[in-house]
């Protein structure tokens, strides 16, 4: 197996007396879709926030492409190739859908000074249009993102994370609040983006999601967290067959 894209080693984070994450280690390979599941309070969000630089872990190490990124903030992480989506909708409501996509990647080009003289779309128009077509939001591309339906905004939100061709995309409950009929659509879309990326690079995904069917269908490997610790890591089939996981979480 090649060198891992993301390597988390013995990550710990406590809030007062509560050990939210108590020594979690895992690796994500290039191009892999890695799922994280676990009951509420199992430490998924704390783990995610550490990987995104929103909080800094008490101890442990997070490495991206072999470099220690444990102490970096969200801005630096994004510049180094980490894209993300949020659990709740986070689009720029007063910008058009197309501008939302353009602004999602423009800061990766040139310097702040050079961008003052850059054209309106930063040369990203074609790329935005390609993603707009893949996400099938062409008919709303010229509308202000805030005026779209929830499902459409969710698609814009996910598309934004892919604009800068990140190495790693962290998807925080991509199905939360989404109409069941759209869930399958999002799954197909993500698999397709993973197989044939819009740009030249393949992205790895880490997905937190409560919708079990979605996770089992989408992910190559799944990590089950319980009370801040890793209970099991394995393929969907292995996780389904794991007696411990069944007892603790999936229920039979």
């Amino acid at each position: 197996m090649s060198a891992p894209l993301l390597k988390v080693t013995d990550l710990k984070k406590a809030y007062g007396a509560i050990q939210a994450v108590g020594g979690v280690s895992f690796e994500v390979q290039p191009g892999e879709i890695f799922g994280v599941i676990g009951p509420n309070g199992s430490g998924k969000t704390t783990l995610f926030n550490s990987m995104l630089g929103q909080i800094s872990p008490d101890s442990g190490k997070i490495e991206l492409n072999g470099q220690d990124v444990s102490r970096l903030g969200p801005l630096e992480l994004n510049r180094r190739g980490v894209g993300r989506t949020f659990q709740t909708l986070q689009v720029f409501g007063k910008m058009t859908v197309r501008d939302n996509l353009i602004v999602a990647a423009q800061e990766h080009r040139g310097s702040m000074f050079s961008r003052m003289f850059e054209q309106d779309d930063s040369g990203l128009g074609a790329k935005a249009d390609a993603l707009i077509n893949r996400f099938r939001i062409r008919h709303v591309a010229h509308l202000k993102a805030g005026t779209l339906s929830y499902g459409q905004q969710k698609l814009v939100d996910i598309a934004m994370a892919f604009m800068s061709e990140p190495d790693l995309v962290l998807l925080d409950e991509p199905c939360a609040g989404v109409n069941p009929s759209l869930v399958g659509g999002i799954s197909t879309l993500l698999k397709d983006l993973n197989r044939t990326p819009t740009g030249s690079k393949k992205s790895s995904f880490v997905v937190i999601e409560h919708n079990m069917d979605f996770v089992m269908d989408l992910c190559h490997r799944i990590m089950v967290m319980v009370e801040g610790k890793v209970m099991a890591i394995g393929t969907p089939a292995e996780i389904r067959g794991n007696k411990q996981v069944l007892d603790a979480y999936l229920g039979a």
Partner: protein
């Protein structure tokens, strides 16, 4: 703002230019003075519109920068330095002080930021009032001359009007260029959702500071033009009340609308001056009426007067979109297989 190749937009720009050039010729001296006064406030509120309207930073200290610009030019001209030295000095000083005022905005937002900037305005105003050796205190500084432009004396009101008009156009085009560059989107992203913006690699610290600094620079330039227009300055026009008024001008015109300051400055700066002449009965009632109108606007038109066309368009668009959704028969999104997993 995406109407640059629209014939209607070109027509409107041409009509606006014609009016701006020809209308003062029909006016008497005081009318020309008021037109110039209006343009000065247009330049000042253009800057505040960047800070507040585009970048979403609630600043109630804009009049302080307006004052710093005015006093810089006045003090330098008293020292027999050229206005043309005073203008860049005013702009630069405001840029630097604006940058510094941006730092609180990195820690506090919304109403707390408004209070921080308001405190700054009060401090600057106290310096203007109390440091008599520098500012003349409450007596102010009088006899501020008007500049020359390439050998032409701009002493006449009409000549000075055209000069201020040219400055306004130049400042407007610079701002338009900035807003149309990727910076414009970065500012808007900062306003709409700073956390999301940061996760997309947008350097929110730099953009926040620069939104203050550039906004303050516009106020500084406006202040320099103001000092030479009125020829006498004292601390009153730069007090906290003036900052609140400038904020209202942005709100009334339409925060985040490029042409908002044209409307806002007309309503907030010029109307109070002309109402006593055209409708003396109203003069005592101007402020209550203005206040009531603002309250009503906040309820029904929170994005300002210039948001009206957009509102109508948005309504039409969303109707069209829902018609299309109806035609498609289901929420129009995602890939073909809409069945979910069994």
């Amino acid at each position: 703002m995406n109407a640059s190749r629209n014939p209607l937009a070109i027509g409107l720009i041409a009509a606006g230019a014609l009016i701006a050039m020809a209308f003062p010729l029909l006016l008497k001296n005081y009318g020309i003075y008021l037109m110039t006064y209006w343009l000065v406030f247009v330049v000042a509120t253009m800057g505040l519109n960047l800070t507040v309207g585009y970048a979403g930073q609630k600043s109630l200290g804009h009049a302080a920068f307006f004052g710093i610009g005015a006093y810089t030019v006045a003090i330098m001209m008293k020292a027999v330095l050229s206005w043309w030295l005073g203008l860049p000095a005013a702009a630069l000083l405001c840029f630097v002080v604006g940058l510094i005022l941006g730092f609180p905005a990195l820690r506090v937002q919304t109403i707390y930021l408004a209070f921080a900037t308001l405190g700054f305005n009060t401090a600057v105003w106290l310096v203007m009032r109390n440091e008599e050796w520098l500012t003349g205190g409450t007596f102010g500084i009088n006899g501020i001359p008007r500049p020359d432009f390439l050998g032409w004396a701009l002493t006449g009101n009409l000549a000075y009007y055209y000069f201020v008009l040219a400055c306004t156009v130049v400042m407007g085009l610079l701002l338009l260029g900035l807003l149309r560059s990727p910076w414009g989107k970065a500012f808007t992203a900062l306003r709409d959702n700073p956390i999301r913006a940061e996760s997309l690699g947008i350097h929110i610290r730099n953009y926040t500071l620069l939104s203050f600094a550039i906004g303050a620079t516009y106020a500084g330039v406006a202040g320099a033009l103001f000092a030479s227009l009125v020829d006498f300055i004292e601390p009153a026009p730069f007090a906290v009340g003036a900052s609140i008024m400038m904020y209202l001008m942005v709100v009334v015109g339409g925060p985040g609308y490029f042409l908002g300051p044209l409307v806002g400055a007309a309503v907030g700066a010029v109307m109070p001056q002309i109402i006593p002449d055209i409708a003396p009965v109203l003069s005592n009632w101007y402020l209550p009426i203005f206040g009531a109108v603002v309250v009503l606007m906040m309820v029904w038109l929170p994005d300002g007067l210039l948001s009206l066309p957009d509102r109508i368009r948005a309504k039409r668009d969303s109707r069209k979109a829902s018609e299309e959704r109806m035609k498609a028969g289901r929420p129009a999104a995602g890939q073909g297989n809409a069945g979910g997993q069994a």
